[in-house]
Symmetry: D2
Subunit: 349 residues, 4 copies
């Protein structure tokens, strides 16, 4: 921890800071420059928070040296985390990127869901995604079929062998949802729902944690830290676009540099959701390719048997036909690339 | 609803849009310009969402005319909502702005809490605020004393007669918390926790809804709409700073123009939290004054008996002594101002 | 300067950093923690830039302690800068806030300009503002009457005694514009036009420097530093709204906390432009009042004799009648307030 | 143009809007809904600006249908613009992406510059980039060697045959700089320096226009429109990262979806600058690959013979050795990809 004192801090102010640090077993070194006094404190930040030090009189700024996420950091664990599923699919590390495909919301047409699931399976995808509980900005919008949707998804899994992923919105629903699906998703709006993070942390269920639209990378990894801290190591991250000043042509701005940054900072796998990031059908293919080449461990793509009647996010959903056309090109790319940890990037063979 | 078709939309695309609109009883008018076709649709948006129309092939953009928040809008109810408490305190409309004062987190020192409560009471403030359940970015930070904190707050109310406000983080805790406090707060990170909004909407408890740090004014009012839609009309809004590109000197950027904007759009009362907005002690007084003059219906200010040992947000908490010094000036201003609905601003008498 | 080395920095990397610092007469102190090595360097940053140090191999981060703006900082000069005009008007320090009033663009109707000027003069305002050279986002919009506009403004000054302020867009135009007006404005888009800053810095003309819509406070003060560094001390700052994620109801987000922040960091005066900040007529009065109470040294307000035919920014311009109505309330407030340097805020007497 | 009137707009207000539109030869259609009146106006926006209409009393909002950039839009010209250089290099359309490589600032070591130039040439790159006039946030930083730098670059061109690109900061310097280099760059901070855009527009010099760090895509294309409008069609765009709320690990956030968006909206070529976008050496390779796969027409990469003594941006500059290592992989990718206009994306062969 490095503490910069205010220009007009008194000797007494400085003394109090030093004392507090020493009480918490920090090794303290004080340097007085022309205008500012700087205090270096070596020790364990978890014993004394930067916030507490920052509240002392005369403290201008406290800078911590180590990243605040400990368990998520490569400082603690250098080898890549790989999340394994019971059919042998693996996410993370050297494993090839996975594809998660399906409708934003599951609606009552089971045949439609199955059509998408078979298209995904036939193309070589690994997961069927589908919304059962939907967080909606407006109370007038469709809120999801809840458990009925999960039942349909489970039937689709039976027929296709695809793994299932769906969003959980509340800690209370977690046990029920976990029974149905293979991977539980925490949506962007719930990235800092700490009750939910804690509940999932206490289970052992693989979890897909989406980045909040205005979460910094640090906050994103701290949200993952809440899960890891409670004991669950099966965490997969998902970049899905951030909120910026420009939303004329897209819903969000896809932050692809987050992938190599997170690969450098953390051992956790990270996938990309180009559908929510852009909100535009025509951008899904170019951004999927860019995500794969950036080193993403997977993609999550919205596909609906008939986007024009989809109960949510139709604008950004591909139809089954569009999907079949696109996926062949994405699979070709997936087969050609190989991730290189040294360059934090993907090479075409 | 106004629908702009893509440059290359086919006649068939246009026909499909028109048909869908007509099926939902919209009156449809079609205009073909040099390059684009525009379709005007008059009717009730709740019958057919803009999103659904937007997902049709060939649709470039859908623009809705009415604000998506209906119950929160002055279009529906023009007179100001006033939230009343059983000791006669009222928030909203012509009532003078209220003050909510207290520590970010309640800690184990009851005398300290009482010291702050008496200082607030003596100065003429109406509410004691205090955190019992704390949402924390890092799992290593203090998470709150939970029910023990509420018990201490209840005792402080007994002694001082102040009303109580605290944050609820999860729908499950709502009944218990509602028993203790007069006003239940939904924190900024939970502004779009729809399960929680629904649960509070189904109660009749007065609720203080904080704006998410990256929520637009539209999303903020739509979050209030979730509560109103479920039947609870006792909604008070709170502006507490938004996330922008500049956080060198403040935690967030206080958006004071949101006050007159929301007063124009909505009948709901709105207060301001300058402590969280700025994160800096020295900015609380100037921004409190600016909020009062901007027409805020109240202020929420962090005060701790000893900010240097506060378990959260010490940096932005005033000590009891600093608070006593400042509050005299704020009360003087409160006594001089009078809100004028015509100019959406406050006059000094 | 504090240098944090990468986790995997070699001894040789560290040695090179230390050597470079010593070569530039820094006093160097090295601390090795469990994971990271931190180097404290005491000395004059102008001798060796943080950027240069940051480019060395193995350096994770370089943190500077002193603010990078030197001449603009209270570290260098504590007393408030006051800019004086030849008719005795003064901006900054304890002087009462000034009002700058007039049309966004000057058009060909001289009587219209005069109508506004007289309304301003009669109400007790100090400056007539008017655009002669207009920076326009689109090439299809009106670009200004250039010198003809300045001639009209000069005539209006003759008749009313108001001081004049107008924008300069290019260093080449500076001498000509300086001949006509009392205060030269650098627009938000030109805040980092360094050629222009340098040119104005080499003159002695009072200059009004507007904050760029996405400039941090640090960058804003560094832009002022360019002017001060070249010798011109007559710098007045202007907050005019920043670009954020929410532009549904306003053009920009007015950042009022920037006023007390800048008053704490710098000795330069700062005014507020609520017209450009909000882009909405109805927000000008509430935000003007909030700016005055926040300690602004003045206001710049758009007024046009007929906003419905204004050649730019009509939407945010007040008509003469609206202005006359509003200004009486603003003047009443101006007469009641007094700025207090200790609380960085304004008291109502 | 679509005009939405305020809820409380009078018949007279509506009449005035209709009249103004008719005076400018718009075809007008008026629709009165339950709450709002909407006016459709078909005609040429350049005859009457949306801004002017928006300033009329009672107007809530004006929505334009066509993009405000006309000449830059595919509405006007559908085939891709290709900018050609006298040695046969072409940028845009089906041509393979080009590489622009070199130091942020040219310093006094000509041999160093030559080292970089030869490395670029040998790898198959097309351009040598180098800064002669440097816009610097702080006046204490190096401002460039000006014409001396251009002379060195010209010598390097003589020896290597590489084309030259450098930044121009002021209209006055344009003729001199144009004499030296093949491609003139307008920097991000000058994207809305309209005097400079106009000056370059009046020449025929190929120009590389960088996106401002907080410019929307619309503003970016409108800046290009200023150049096109003045007659110069040789415009190449450059995405170089935008300013967002998260700058902990990067200088800016690279907005790669801007590439397919701009390819859809406009016929102009667009390249990417991963060095300025990220500000981090280790992110240049992954983001270069992602840019190539996203369909960029080229890359601009900072390389310095010794980044540790670079006079600017050393942190983000690659050394010659790092560059040689990376470029082989980028060239391999360049040879494998082919852009497909239908999918707005790049296929690996």
């Amino acid at each position: 921890m490095i503490i910069v004192m205010e220009r007009n801090a008194t000797k007494d102010d400085i003394q109090k800071v030093v004392q507090l640090l020493k009480e918490h077993d920090f090794k303290v070194l004080e340097h007085t420059g022309e205008i500012y006094t700087v205090i270096n404190a070596l020790g364990d930040k978890t014993a004394l928070s930067a916030e507490r030090v920052g509240s002392l009189a005369g403290v201008k700024e406290v800078k911590t040296i180590r990243e605040p996420f400990r368990l998520a950091s490569r400082d603690r664990k250098n080898e890549d985390t790989v999340v394994s599923f019971n059919n042998g699919v693996k996410i993370g590390g050297d494993n090839k990127p996975v594809f998660m495909v399906g409708p934003c919301s599951v609606d009552e047409n089971f045949d439609g869901l199955l059509e998408v699931a078979y298209a995904a399976k036939d193309a070589g995808c690994e997961f069927l995604r589908g919304g059962a509980f939907k967080p909606r900005t407006s109370p007038y919008d469709f809120q999801g079929l809840e458990e009925d949707a999960l039942k349909m998804m489970a039937k689709a899994r039976e027929k296709t062998g695809l793994l299932l992923v769906t969003e959980v919105m509340d800690a209370q629903d977690l046990p029920m949802i976990s029974d149905y699906v293979d991977l539980v998703q925490i949506g962007a709006r719930n990235m800092q729902n700490f009750k939910l993070l804690k509940a999932i942390g206490k289970s052992n269920k693989p979890v897909l944690l989406k980045r909040g639209p205005s979460a910094t990378i640090k906050e994103f990894l701290l949200a993952a830290e809440h899960i890891l801290y409670n004991g669950n190591e099966n965490v997969i991250l998902c970049e899905r676009g951030i909120r910026t000043f420009d939303d004329s042509y897209t819903r969000n701005t896809l932050d692809l540099s987050a992938i190599p940054i997170i690969k450098k900072l953390s051992h956790l796998p990270i996938i990309v959701d180009p559908s929510h990031a852009t909100g535009q059908r025509y951008l899904i293919e170019p951004m999927s390719k860019a995500a794969l080449i950036s080193g993403a461990n997977g993609l999550m793509i919205e596909v609906h048997y008939n986007p024009e009647i989809a109960l949510s996010d139709g604008k950004q959903s591909l139809s089954t036909a569009m999907f079949k056309d696109m996926i062949s090109r994405l699979m070709k790319l997936r087969n050609l690339i190989k991730y290189d940890n040294n360059t934090l990037s993907t090479d075409v063979e």
